[in-house]
């Protein structure tokens, strides 16, 4: 894997996930991770960059996302076609388990990938929107720590929003 550095003219970087898996990515993909951009530009990205907050499962997805976005944007297609293509890709990409979504959101925040962060936030919000309070608690595994009286009070406080 690492020998491809010599074979291709493109610069590649090695990213190491929390659980020790090393991913090889091209520069066009790596620079989308704002958190390591400075390292790359300052040529301090050797031998590999450790990403302590991201598991290999999530990092693989993040790289897939960045790769597709890098390829589409440099593909020479017209802007509107590229836009459409990215939209379709994003929609399919977001079609994952809720826990994965939350981890992706968190990873995108840590790695500072703005478009992925916004995409995951919007997707999670749309999941919250269509659910009842009880379903949201279940989805986020949040315990209802209101007492009966307290919950009644907050529901009364925001009663207009439930109509």
């Amino acid at each position: 894997m690492s020998s491809s550095t010599e074979l291709t003219e493109k610069k590649v970087f090695l990213l190491k996930s929390l659980d020790g898996v090393i991913f090889e990515v091209e520069e066009s993909v790596a620079v989308q991770l704002e958190v390591i951009r400075e390292l790359i530009e300052g040529d301090c990205a050797r031998p590999f960059i450790s990403l302590y907050n991201v598991t290999s499962e999530i990092l693989a997805l993040v790289i897939e996302y960045c790769k597709h976005h890098a390829e589409t944007c440099s593909g020479g297609t017209s802007a509107t076609i590229a836009d459409e293509d990215l939209k379709t890709f994003d929609n399919e990409f977001m079609n994952v388990d809720e826990n994965i979504l939350l981890e992706l959101c968190s990873a995108a925040d840590y790695l500072d990938i703005k478009s992925l962060f916004e995409l995951t936030c919007r997707t999670l919000a749309s999941l919250i929107k269509d659910r009842t309070i009880i379903e949201v608690r279940k989805m986020f595994n949040v315990e209802n720590d209101f007492s009966v009286v307290e919950e009644k009070a907050v529901r009364k406080e925001f009663a207009w929003a439930f109509k």
Partner: protein, 272 residues
């Protein structure tokens, strides 16, 4: 919290103590404990600022509904900081608010994103007149009696024969526009006029006249030329205008709301 008079002013300090900051990824180090940790896992990887960003993508009513999930969420939704963040998001649009009673502080708010009306009971205000500004889910009320701390500009105009002052004015880009009405006699061509007064340069005012047709439309003023942007389609106008010929209109950001006093209809026009 019973008998609380304001929506937002809840003491969030009571709820602060449960937002323990944990390393969000602590549990991930140990693969074997992942199943055990699963029950609290999700809440752990979602620090307040992330949750705030996710909630900010919701329509306004859903944001407040989310405040009923648990104490931590309630604290986030009620905090001043997140309320500010919520309202600057491009996903939100200004709301329209109308009173439904002249005596009681009750009214309806309209969210143009969800196209939904919400009945809202305002906190009791002991004053006879108030001005309401409702935008992106936040409500500002300025009450005449209590008003202080603002700059008042008084522009004095010469009397214009044949015209009387209306009670509508607006300040836009440093220019005050003041609506005047013809007192009749001059035919029906020019029934409305505008007095312009530049507040920043204190330039002498100028008078603009406009003959309006019997339709509801939106015009923009380019210098001194009126330019029609849109006109309410005849079909809508018929249903709209037949109850009453007095309309209230207001605009914020890129929305213009037109409401007929006599009919239960609200027209929304989005500029651009």
């Amino acid at each position: 919290m019973e008998g609380e008079t304001s929506w937002f002013s809840h003491c969030i300090d009571n709820f602060k103590n449960d937002s323990v900051e944990l390393d969000p990824f602590l549990e991930l180090n140990d693969k074997s404990s992942e199943e055990v940790a699963d029950a609290v896992f999700v809440d752990l990887i979602l620090p307040n600022d992330l949750l705030e960003r996710i909630l900010a993508c919701l329509p306004v009513a859903s944001i407040f509904k989310a405040g009923c999930v648990c104490k931590r969420w309630h604290a986030i939704v009620s905090s001043d900081r997140s309320l500010q963040n919520f309202s600057i998001l491009p996903l939100q649009k200004p709301w329209y608010f109308m009173f439904t009673s002249s005596d009681e502080p009750v009214g309806y708010a309209y969210d143009s994103v969800l196209q939904k009306w919400y009945g809202i009971n305002l906190p009791y205000i002991e004053a006879s007149s108030w001005f309401i500004a409702l935008s992106c889910g936040a409500l500002a009320i300025s009450v005449n009696k209590l008003s202080h701390n603002y700059n008042a500009f008084i522009a004095k105009s010469k009397q214009v024969p044949g015209w009387q002052a209306g009670d509508e004015s607006v300040i836009c880009d440093g220019v005050m526009y003041f609506l005047i009405y013809s007192t009749g006699g001059g035919g029906t061509d020019n029934r409305h006029g505008l007095i312009l007064y530049n507040l920043t340069s204190q330039m002498p005012h100028s008078l603009l006249m406009k003959s309006f047709i019997s339709a509801i439309g939106i015009w923009s003023l380019n210098g001194k030329e009126w330019q029609e942007i849109a006109r309410v389609p005849h079909k809508l106008f018929n249903g709209f205008g037949e109850f009453d010929d007095v309309f209230a209109s207001s605009g914020t950001v890129d929305l213009i709301y037109i409401q007929s006093y006599g009919a239960p209809i609200l027209l929304v026009y989005e500029v651009n």
